[in-house]
């Protein structure tokens, strides 16, 4: 098998020893139990708070209440509560305020909201920890079942060979004529756009058109050779060309024309190259020239990403390439699919930090939400 040649197969049990995974599981379980205890405590506070709100709301209903006053630990005296609408409320940290019953209930409601927020936070951490525990458990189970982790180095050479093969089959079908027609149509559209932008002259459009002819004739033959290597960089090309064009657009028209021409020439080359590997050809040139057109209008526009630029641009232009832009992605993925699916790098990246996480829950969880001191006191009573 090819995998044996270029990949490594390690049993999971060797990477995560059973005892260690079990320890991690128990540690996470402990953390969850701690959180649950916290949650229960805060729920107790919340219930107390609700009861207190209830009491405070009822107190001013009467001018005085007949009560039994606790006297010492064992004895009670009959007595009465007066001034039922005057409360001294502990705000926290030794500060008290005179409040009416109504104002007090407002304060208590605010506290209840705070408690609710804390409960939500704890619930969120619990669900996080539970997910983690599940992960550890499944890892432990897999390790004990003797699952094997297969890692393969991502090898660009191989995929290039594959993609070049597919390209060869597709590109040999004589795209160039069809390609050319499409490209011409696009250049015409571009011209239209530029005219719409209003700041371009007639001859510039002609120049662009001529370039289209030249480059197409020149590149159709070397497209097959370079196609496979360049098909990887297409997205980057998009970006960099967008950038260079934006610079030229920013400068005056006369200078911009020359740069545009050269840029277009290059773009055209890329275009045919891309055409060999991606189904929709010429997407690069379209997006970039869209940028050009936009730059005529909004000179200060700077793009870091050709894709975004073109999509944002479409408010003014017709929907020429909005569909094509989208096609870039499936086309680009086509070249990769075979290798990316098997490629395991992402998995290992996830797993490694995860295994370190086993130490974290205790510390990270403990700092999640501080508990107010007076609330604790309140709950203790």
């Amino acid at each position: 098998m090819a995998t044996a040649k270029k990949g490594t197969a390690t049993p999971l049990a060797s990477a995560f020893s059973p005892e260690e995974t079990r320890r991690a599981v128990s540690r996470v379980a402990q953390a969850i139990a701690d959180r649950r205890a916290d949650l229960a405590r805060i729920q107790g506070f919340f219930a107390d708070n609700a009861a207190l709100v209830n009491l405070v709301q009822r107190l001013p209903d009467e001018l005085s209440h007949q009560i039994m006053v606790p006297f010492g630990g064992a004895a009670f005296f009959p007595g009465s509560l007066i001034h039922t609408n005057e409360l001294l409320v502990l705000l926290g940290d030794g500060y008290y305020a005179d409040r009416s019953a109504k104002q007090t209930t407002e304060i208590l409601h605010r506290r209840g909201m705070e408690l609710e927020a804390q409960m939500e936070a704890i619930k969120a951490t619990i669900s996080d920890l539970e997910a983690e525990a599940k992960f550890f458990e499944s890892t432990a189970a897999e390790a004990s079942e003797g699952l094997v982790e297969i890692r393969e180095e991502y090898d660009e050479e191989d995929t290039e060979i594959i993609s070049s093969k597919t390209e060869a089959s597709s590109s040999s079908g004589g795209i160039s004529d069809e390609e050319h027609a499409r490209m011409m149509a696009r250049f015409d559209e571009l011209e239209m756009l530029e005219k719409e932008a209003g700041s371009t002259s007639e001859d510039e459009g002609d120049d662009d058109d001529d370039d289209g002819d030249d480059e197409d004739a020149g590149t159709s033959e070397d497209g097959e050779e370079n196609g496979e290597t360049l098909s990887y960089g297409n997205e980057h090309d998009n970006v960099s060309f967008g950038a260079s064009v934006s610079g030229s657009g920013g400068n005056g028209q006369s200078q911009g024309n020359a740069q545009l021409k050269s840029a277009l020439k290059k773009l055209g080359e890329k275009e045919t190259l891309q055409g060999s590997s991606l189904a929709p050809s010429g997407s690069t040139s379209i997006t970039n020239s869209e940028v050009q057109a936009s730059l005529r209008k909004a000179v200060s526009f700077k793009d870091e990403n050709g894709q975004i630029v073109s999509s944002s641009r479409y408010s003014s232009g017709p929907k020429v390439s909005s569909s094509r832009d989208r096609q870039i992605l499936p086309g680009g993925q086509k070249a990769f699919t075979g290798s990316i699916v098997e490629h395991d790098e992402g998995l290992s990246v996830i797993e490694q930090p995860r295994s370190n996480d086993s130490e974290k829950p205790a510390s990270s969880a403990s700092s999640s939400r501080p508990m107010s001191r007076f609330k604790m006191q309140k709950g203790g009573r």
């Binding site: 500060y95 510390s363 501080p370």
Partner: protein, 134 residues
């Protein structure tokens, strides 16, 4: 253990004592770190509480009576004064928290370097012992 000690040369014994002292230092650092965690937790709680108090004080109207519990007595305080006090306290605690963060980082660095040196020492000792036994 005793036999290995007996056969080991003096250098190994030195190393062992060295290792012991290093381990002690490490455990001390770890204790400091956990203490730091504890104190920090308390401070964060206090900050939260003070912020709550400040929020409530902001909501009080001007004429409201505010008291501060000092020891066994409630001392009446001006609302504005109380607010200023709380603000100052929050400031102080946050500054303290920052200081503790720095201290914690320091301690962790120390801990890591200590761990490394201990591991190195252990390796050296094992090498020496293996040689002695060979």
């Amino acid at each position: 253990m005793a036999s290995s000690l007996a056969t080991a040369p003096a250098a190994v014994r030195d190393m062992q004592s060295d290792l012991e002292s290093q381990a002690n230092a490490l455990s001390k650092i770890q204790k400091d770190i956990s203490k730091n965690h504890e104190v920090r937790k308390q401070f964060t709680i206090q900050v939260g509480e003070n912020e709550l108090v400040l929020k409530e004080l902001e909501l009080l109207n001007e004429g409201a009576n505010v008291y501060k519990l000092i020891g066994p007595v409630l001392v009446k305080q001006d609302n504005a004064e109380a607010k200023a006090n709380i603000k100052k306290r929050i400031e102080y605690i946050t500054a303290e928290l920052k200081r503790m963060d720095r201290a914690l980082k320091d301690l962790e660095e120390k801990q890591n370097s200590k761990k490394e040196s201990i591991i190195k020492l252990q390796q050296k000792m094992q090498a020496v012992q293996a040689k002695a036994q060979a």
